[in-house]
Symmetry: C2
DNA sequence: GCCTAGAGACCGACTGGTTGGTCTGTCCAA
DNA sequence: TTGGACAGACCAACCAGTCGGTCTCTAGGC
């Protein structure tokens, strides 16, 4: 395939201090590099989400862990993610399919977690799994558009806020009272003043 | 400027049944077309948000109206929005600046609304305006990646779910009890059975 | 009513520039 | 000597934008 793709191979080669020959010695195509880049950060969130899924039976705790690691990936791999979203439009079908599989398995983990939360009665029964799942994916994925490392809020701050917002909208009044969940919520200003 | 930009002018010209000459007779450049496309749908949400801002003194009601119209734009202008996000990466600075201005003014309207809600005491004081604002922008903007017109859920359904999730995470326990807000929340399964 | 001049809408082959990818060749370690 | 890591000039493809030319429609003189 030919044509302009935002970041050119010549640029990549120049900034990484190698050459066209060197690049194509390591990668079959520019698409393959993009695939590798995607795999680099999707593997992180997938691993972390699977860890959360297996290390805990509690959907609320699971979701908290998933979101925290999900947000963190935008700190760890911001350049990778930015490049991926910029270039992924032009990926050849064979690569998009492989990428879609991994993204789907991540989506399913979130959906499964929401399902479990509803079944256990901790999440409100009236919220639909699919749209809520896409809401979580959307709000977190969108951070790549505005998150600035070294900004006012750390990535942990942002993760805590996301968790607070999501759990406040999903948990039943009863579940919100559980003592072991209090650490998942933002401290109210009153409490902060007292400390 | 030269280079590949996802959707080519030749494609646009072919599918709209005109010609290169015709196209460049109406638009100075491909960038100008993109700018016009963006203006088309950003004007819609901006107008609706300003209407909500002026027609109501109540932050909760405002936010509900803003989100509903914000979601709706993805139904009305899905093709426009998809093309814009796909191509906007390559826009010349002069156009991105103009677009950024309109997007910023929309963002400010949402931030202002959140601020007012906190001041009036209806929104929880511990949620930060900036991240919460970006959360709303993120979850709604992301719908362009998954929303399918004619799917299981209508755009109104999706809007209602978003409003429910956001208000449940922002409103204080006290504010949630207000009778006039009950219509903003999803009906619980129990109530649905009774009807 | 008729004819003409001219302006603007529209056409499409062509150009200049840019890009992903190739190919020949060099260097160096085993 | 030989095979793999790397270099960089080069090529074919491809795209935004141009430019000379054509078509259409209207204004206005007769």
């Amino acid at each position: 395939m030919h044509g302009f793709h935002g970041v050119t191979v010549s640029q990549i080669v120049a900034e990484s201090g190698t050459s066209k020959g060197g690049f194509y010695h390591h990668f079959q195509s520019k698409d393959e590099l993009l695939y590798v880049i995607h795999d680099y950060f999707i593997s992180y969130v997938l691993t972390k989400a699977k860890e959360a899924d297996s290390s805990s039976k509690n959907p609320t705790e699971k979701l908290q862990k998933i979101i925290q690691s999900f947000v963190k990936v935008f700190h760890l791999y911001k350049p990778h993610i930015s490049v991926f979203y910029q270039e992924s439009i032009y990926l050849k079908p064979e690569y998009t399919e492989e990428i879609k599989k991994k993204r789907d398995s991540y989506k399913k983990l979130i959906f499964k977690c929401l399902e479990e939360g509803k079944e256990s009665g901790e999440f409100r029964s009236e919220v639909p799994v699919d749209i809520t799942g896409m809401t979580i994916l959307g709000m977190v994925n969108w951070t790549y558009k505005w998150y600035q490392p070294g900004g006012e809020k750390t990535i942990e701050d942002i993760g805590n806020i996301f968790v607070d917002l999501i759990l406040n909208s999903l948990l039943t009044e009863q579940a919100k009272q559980k003592k072991e969940y209090q650490s998942f919520f933002l401290k109210s200003d009153i409490n902060q003043d007292q400390i």
